[in-house]
């Protein structure tokens, strides 16, 4: 008994220190170094037009792809669960590819497909629409990289959702649109929100694919993570710190939001 008790205590200490060292310590390191530096200088770096611009487009495109993912991801999950079609299993496996492929490789693939030397890229460029080394490239890369989040969050909920709930609503006189709005959407919304928030926070930090696809053009395609990299490369540590802190705070608030969603979800799923 005593051994088992000790064992549990040790395991608890080990896992706590692991989280402490691996997750909490680096966060503290960043925050403390921000406080040690001249904060006025850091603030000046954050408010530098290039920095502001990079934060703006990062935030803007993260928001865009989050909204798009919210719709396409839910629709994809729905189709994968509720409909039958040839190669359904293969399709289902393919969904995870964007997670598995190294993001740099994703970047290379997109450049190969849409770059000015390719047929598609050439066609668009001739009509004055540049995809690669331009903002549409950022969008494409982010969409590719974050695609699985909503699908994989929503899919299990649709599988679990009893079809009878929809039938009950139908028998009570509800039209298909009403069933979608009042029964399906409320049931799925916690999962949709979770997936959307995750893809948003992932998009905030995406580096590998964007640096290849969009390049590093200030005031045009320089997103926050690429900007930080540039600052580090040129030895401007306070500049990197400032933007890093902003990204950290954003990610933190998303995690907080997710927790609130989870709590709300638990309210009616508890005591099953």
């Amino acid at each position: 008994m005593i051994v088992a008790k000790d064992g549990r205590l040790i395991l608890r200490c080990l896992s706590l220190s692991y989280i402490g060292i691996l997750v909490i310590l680096p966060i503290f390191a960043l925050i403390s170094i921000v406080f040690k530096n001249n904060q006025a200088a850091i603030w000046a770096h954050i408010t530098h037009p290039h920095a502001i611009y990079s934060l703006k487009i990062t935030f803007f495109y993260a928001l865009c792809i989050a909204i798009i993912n919210c719709i396409t991801g839910t629709a994809t999950a729905w189709v994968l669960v509720r409909y039958d079609f040839p190669l359904k299993k293969t399709m289902n496996t393919l969904i995870d590819l964007p997670f598995a492929i190294p993001t740099v490789v994703t970047g290379i693939m997109l450049v190969t497909l849409y770059g000015p030397q390719s047929i598609i890229g050439h066609f668009f460029a001739r009509n004055g629409f540049h995809i690669i080394y331009n903002q549409p490239g950022i969008m494409l890369a982010l969409l590719f990289v974050t695609f699985p989040f909503v699908v994989r969050a929503v899919q299990p909920v649709i599988i679990e959702m009893e079809k009878e709930m929809e039938e009950a609503a139908e028998a009570l006189g509800a039209s298909p649109w009403t069933i979608f709005l009042k029964i399906i959407l409320p049931t799925l919304s916690p999962a949709i929100l979770t997936g959307t928030a995750l893809s948003f926070s992932r998009a905030l930090g995406e580096f590998g694919s964007i640096v290849i696809v969009a390049g590093n053009i200030p005031m045009k395609t320089q997103v926050a993570s690429v900007y930080i990299y540039g600052e580090v490369e040129s030895g401007n540590i306070p500049g990197a710190l400032g933007i890093s802190l902003v990204l950290l705070l954003l990610s933190f608030s998303i995690i907080l939001l997710l927790n609130i969603i989870q709590k709300w979800k638990r309210k009616y799923e508890e005591a099953k």
């Binding site: 039938e167 009570l172 509800a174 508890e270």
Partner: protein
């Protein structure tokens, strides 16, 4: 005019014939049970009446109107699902009021009606609970109230007590019976529990392998089962194999013969006899009514009655006798007794032969 009338309903799922040429009707105010084992197609019939499934062939009429191709939401029937199918994200109140909201009723009206229904199903104090916070019986009552809210003239209940434990089941079954009499609806419910059907239904439609085997009142179906299936399904039944010869039934491996002057099908040959445990007499002496010799093997006390297993030849016969009558006889284990069948149903080949073969193969005589 019948409230519900189905004609020649058929439905396949792939190669599986779920419902095969089913016809029956439910008169206004009737409580009808669709009785059959699981997988017999009874739920599919119910779902076709509700419009949740489209029949391959046949027609459905509600109050004389052909609704075969009418979508479910326009049929105005109340449907109660076996697993309740409550809206998990809505409170009890919202669940019950859903149908009225769809009908765009005024808020005050909905509030009033929901309150009345909550009273009716005894869920006062649970208005703002979520389904996950309720017990099985409570959830089922919410499901009932929800289906009743739009005041449908027809209620369809799919194994309404299927997932509840025995005690709650019985209470709820009686409660439904009372409710049915209180409000003017025609109800059809699906069940695999013959006691439930006998207890609360006005009419029983016995379903076997997607076909109607028999339609009748509970009493008719119980006392005069028309097929072996119905007989064996309705109540516990002893299946006895015998041979008919010169109007006497010789029962295989059983000591004694039974005179069969009342037999409907007095052909000579193999027969199957179905006898209910309560239709068997026990006597300590051999008499004209009790010609079959046996030995008492087990005696079980069952409240108001005794259940007795009697070995005769090499088969065990299950008998149920009323408590006082059995106690008077003062029979103990291993005593020799004589049996007589007061009532039985007899079926001949091919059904009989098939059962004989099964029986023999069970005993090891056939491969």
């Amino acid at each position: 005019m019948a409230s519900i009338m189905v004609e020649n309903l058929s439905k396949r799922f792939g190669n599986f014939v779920a419902v095969d040429d089913v016809s029956f009707r439910a008169e206004e105010g009737e409580l009808v049970a669709l009785l059959g084992p699981s997988g017999s197609g009874k739920s599919t019939i119910l779902r076709m009446i509700a419009g949740l499934e489209i029949p391959d062939r046949g027609k459905t009429y509600l109050y004389g109107k052909d609704v075969t191709h009418t979508v479910s939401r326009k049929r105005k029937v109340g449907f109660v699902f076996q697993h309740y199918a409550l809206f998990k994200h809505m409170t009890v109140e919202k669940n019950i009021g859903f149908g009225l909201e769809i009908m765009k009723k005024k808020k005050d009206f909905i509030k009033d009606k929901v309150e009345k229904l909550i009273n009716l199903v005894n869920l006062n104090g649970y208005e703002s609970h979520f389904p996950a916070q309720l017990s099985g019986g409570q959830r089922q009552r919410v499901a009932l109230a929800r289906a009743l809210a739009p005041e449908p003239k027809i209620m369809l209940l799919d194994e309404p007590f299927g997932s509840l434990d025995a005690k709650i089941r019985e209470n709820l079954a009686n409660w439904i019976r009372d409710l049915h009499q209180k409000i003017n609806v025609t109800s059809v419910f699906v069940t695999h529990d013959q006691n439930e059907a006998i207890k609360i239904a006005d009419k029983i439609v016995a379903i076997n392998r997607g076909k109607v085997d028999q339609i009748g009142t509970a009493k008719e179906v119980y006392e005069h089962p028309e097929t072996k299936f119905v007989a064996s399904f309705i109540g516990n039944t002893n299946v006895i194999v015998g041979k008919l010869h010169d109007h006497k039934l010789y029962i295989e491996n059983m000591a004694g013969e039974i005179p069969t002057k009342s037999l409907k099908a007095p052909k000579n040959g193999s027969m199957v006899l179905l006898v209910r445990p309560e239709d068997i007499l026990i006597s300590k002496k051999k008499t004209r009514e009790c010609p079959i010799k046996g030995t008492i093997k087990d005696i079980y006390y069952r409240g108001s009655a005794y259940e007795i297993n009697i070995l005769t030849g090499d088969i065990i016969i299950n008998v149920v006798e009323e408590k006082n009558r059995f106690q008077k006889k003062k029979i103990a284990n291993n005593a020799t007794v004589y049996l007589g069948f007061v009532k039985y149903n007899i079926f001949n080949a091919p059904e009989g032969r098939k059962i004989i073969e099964e029986k023999l193969s069970q005993l090891g005589y056939l491969e």
